[in-house]
Amino acid sequence: MANITTDQNFPSVVLSIFEKDGVTPAKVNGVPVWASSDPTIIAVIPSADGMSAVVNTVAPGTARITVSADADLAVGGTPIPITGVSEDIIVALGTSTIAAVMKLDLGTAAAKA
């Protein structure tokens, strides 16, 4: 679970790809595809090689990032889909968008009707 406000973003979200042991780095076929589970809460802007992204907050709520890739490295082979999901990203309202001043305008005094 990661907390963030609408005033903030994640400027450098990094994708790591491993073999079954979870330690040895691996490759995928093609460019990984990034997505937001709810684009109205977080927006994802992936890099050209798909190995990193900028995640911008949009509005309060909870969302996740998913990354999909083809784990089959053989050219022309049957794609082996593989997907990674981030932890929950909880977006709270930032202070810059919270109303801080309320002003009452009394207008001009007039005789009671």
Binding site: Q8, V14, A69
Partner: protein, 131 residues
Amino acid sequence: MTIYQDAALRAEMQAAIQALVPGLRGLQELASITTLSSSARMAITDQIDRRGRRTDLLKAVLSALDALDAAGAALAVDGYPDMPKIQIFGPVFDEIQGHSGDIATAVALFEAENIAAAKLSISLGTPVGKL
């Protein structure tokens, strides 16, 4: 070929051996005195032994330098650093060349293993204020 001879080291070792000689000779003359007490004889003998041991070590360095020179000379005689191709009888050459096709075929039987990725991990990093 460059022969790396450490003439300075050799000279130092030889000088050190020569420097030990007078003292050693004197100690041996002292040890020949028949009226020496056992303590004095023991002290003299100890000094003789130490100088003998030091001389042996210095000579070991000189022997190693000799071996280095000999090995370097042998390497030079062997033509180092050149390693020319060997000329062989035509039919023998043809026989060896004939195997090259088989070797290439055998090598082509292998290919690098494509290890499939099994896990994608997403690191969010630290949030920062929007610019």
